[in-house]
Symmetry: C2
Subunit: 470 residues, 2 copies
């Protein structure tokens, strides 16, 4: 039953067996596979075969075959990840969830939804409007990312400060294990303390422990009001104090507190780009958003809280969005990455987390390390400061300098207990740096868990861990 | 190195070794052990030795010894659990966290705290007042339960609808493994996607996978305003609609939505007990609480939301607390369990969860099953309806009828995907019923995890799983 997929690709007999399980459109080979979008920071699709099951049962049969044959499988969702967790090698089989895209049911009384893993986030958000409900997870990749991928990577995004990460939205899960067994843990309740919470292992496991096929998701009542402001301040200390002030004073309404630094603000408000709502000389700019239930009342509260913050000297200038157009303009400055990728070449993007109190010193140290090597290098900080999450954009050196650039960013995290990945995951991109955040014992236990769930190491092999992981 | 602890208790040489690690007050034997509070629903402490380490290092040395000797260990926190998860057998060693009770540090900017596991919940809540911060977990056992136990049991309580369970409050954790190794995952950030989130396994594991010794906890800004109401309605359907209405209309402010039925309300508002703020003829009573940032504004909103709900016909009568005394009176009716335990004899208490839409039919079926056997039996429902969590109090039959009473409550959960334990856990109490909520595959994977972390089955053996678990 064994094969040597790395040398020759899946045996044709295995492909025939896939065809017996799936319909004609379910098995792709040749150019149909290699012509597909390889994903960010990846040059091409190397896998030979791509499978597109429509049901859990089909997927289970596929995995049973792959397990018996020792066939490596890479699971692909919406391909919006940034850490090459979906990269393939010659001989790999791709398992795409794109045809498992049904929203199966919405329960308004229980405020839950049951979906297949391939449902696209934005479509799900839109679908809930008619029910007066919302799914609070929101991120830049909303138009392409899939809910199963959001779970497999524990996606974060803009509203984590209020609603938590994807982990907090997942109540239940169906997973096809490496050997094809179907683990059904489709719990629909917020509370279910009955032994170990197995689903937590799959959330954030980046396709290395099982294939998430269905989800029970927690929904929220749809917010009615939205208030947005852009403020600026000349010190990080004031921004940190402002965060605490607005979080407390807005009661439960604060839904986003985002930061961009002067460098990033200047890039995005340059000539011919976004209009600058505030002057360009401040060190930090923060986008503040509150979601609530009453237009007038919430607007009054939002303005009162910002007025109070101004009187306390927590910022220098501010603008409050008066229209949807204003709101989009403010968020455009935060979300648009096109210009920074254009200006910062070669472009390096990072995603780290660290205690808020350590952020200013950390930003200073990374900048200093970088400038010591590349005095003309570009560096900009932005991110979800309310969650302790910084993104860093760097344009410096050459593509061959990656490791040295990475060292500038990651090494200073070591003494402060920071994380080399806040929300992007490890994939292949951050594998060499995992040891900064995870101890030898933690990594050893992760490998034991991998060994338990995937003893033949066929699920996304080589991701997260070193190749000898399992 | 092996011993036969069940037959003879820990060997005296092992006790001598404990004494070499701990101080005089750290090792208790004889009456000092057997005279201790055995915990709810347990008649006596059967263990021979109780250890009270003060540091992680001491605890680690103790576990290394127990592992080498194959010595069973039962971990005890505040002993406020309801499922006999801390019950001991002759020959067991008790590991009490009561002297590991230091609040190590508070980081106001990052809004995190580092604590030892033995800190009592209420002491921690009180300590945070001076920092303008709060820890939102709150439950009846607050005066005795410990934060480590809250994590080991994934405690829930009154404010889960807004802040989530203990799982959502834990950012990082230090755990002593069965063999004494110290797993340090003291992450301080909301976001840290770097491989499998190991701490999730220990949360809710009831002392079967490791000893939680320290925690990094997420804190929140301290709420300023609190508004509380008691409402009543003649149908569950209206209560369910009211829940959605107030959750949406209060924006992010709703912090509790609790239910008691007519039977429970009558017991607690009987002659000489609590005053009845509303008449006693309604089928359901709901306690609604909103926490916010502004006294006047939040009170106005709270009243407007309830007025609107009244106009929509979502309840029959309501009273809003005008003082702390009013507030305490409303919560007293919900939290006081003394009278129901007195009136319902023999007293059986249950804690289940199920989809909100299935609750009314479920309550009807349990009542019908019970009354078919014991026509004069008492039954009352209460609980955290916003979380899909019902508690059920039953007074029927004799203490020997336990299994039959349990069947009335648990069997109807099977077809609706309910859970035999919402927040109390499994312990010994619900072990025979675990299969209603967890499939053979789920239970098999739990046992594999147990085997991986505790190959000698020395940590709280026999809890959650059948005795042959590992």
């Amino acid at each position: 039953m064994s094969s040597d997929p790395l040398a020759v690709g899946p045996a044709s007999s295995l492909i025939d067996q896939f065809r017996a399980i799936l319909d004609e459109g379910g098995v792709m080979t040749g150019d149909d596979v290699s012509d597909r979008h390889p994903g960010y920071f990846m040059t091409r699709v190397e896998a030979d075969v791509l499978l597109r099951p429509e049901t859990t049962d089909q997927l289970s049969q596929v995995m049973a075959l792959c397990h018996a044959a020792g066939q490596p499988v890479v699971i692909q969702g919406g391909m919006s990840g940034w850490v090459r967790a979906t990269q393939t090698r010659p001989g790999d089989v791709i398992l795409s969830l794109e045809r498992m895209n049904r929203i199966e049911s919405i329960d308004p009384a229980n405020r839950t939804a049951i979906v297949q893993a391939g449902v696209i986030l934005e479509k799900f958000q839109d679908h809930l409007e008619a029910h007066g409900l919302s799914f609070p997870l929101d991120l830049g990749g909303r138009g392409s990312c899939q809910l199963g991928g959001n779970a497999a990577t524990n996606a974060g995004g803009m509203r984590v400060i209020r609603y938590g990460m994807m982990r907090e939205q997942v109540l239940g899960m169906e997973v096809v294990l490496a050997d094809g067994r179907v683990l059904s843990s489709m719990n629909q309740m917020i509370k279910n303390n009955t032994g170990y919470d197995l689903k937590q292992l799959f959330i954030g496991s980046e396709g290395t422990l099982g294939v998430i096929t269905r989800l029970v998701l927690r929904l929220r009542e749809r917010p009615v009001s939205s208030n947005t402001a852009l403020v600026c301040a000349d010190s990080f200390d004031r921004i940190a104090k402002l965060l605490r002030h607005v979080d407390g004073a807005l009661g439960g309404l604060l839904s986003a507190f985002e930061l961009v630094d002067n460098n990033f603000y200047r890039v995005n408000t340059g000539v011919g780009r976004h209009p600058a709502p505030l002057g360009s000389d401040e060190r930090y700019y923060a986008m503040i958003e509150a979601l609530g239930s009453d237009h007038e009342r919430d607007r009054d509260l939002f303005e009162a809280v910002l007025t109070d913050a101004a009187e306390k000297g927590l910022f220098d200038d501010a603008i409050i969005a008066r229209s949807e157009k204003d709101r989009a303009a403010i968020w455009g400055i935060r979300e648009d990455l096109e210009h920074i990728v254009h200006d910062f070449q070669p472009f390096y993007a990072f995603d780290v987390s660290l205690p808020v109190g350590a952020m200013e010193a950390y930003m200073g140290e990374v900048t200093q390390r970088l400038k010591a090597i590349w005095p003309d290098g570009g560096i900009a900080f932005l991110g979800h400061v309310g969650d302790g999450n910084l993104h860093i954009a760097i344009g410096a050196g050459t593509p061959q300098d990656r490791e040295q650039v990475e060292a500038c960013v990651y090494e200073p995290l070591r003494p402060i207990g920071g994380s080399v990945s806040a929300e992007h995951g490890i994939g292949l991109e951050k594998k060499p740096w995992l040891s900064i955040t995870r101890s030898p014992l933690e990594r050893g236990l992760m490998r034991e868990i991998k060994q338990m769930f995937d003893p033949k190491n066929i699920l996304n092999p080589g991701k997260i861990f070193a190749e000898d992981a399992a």
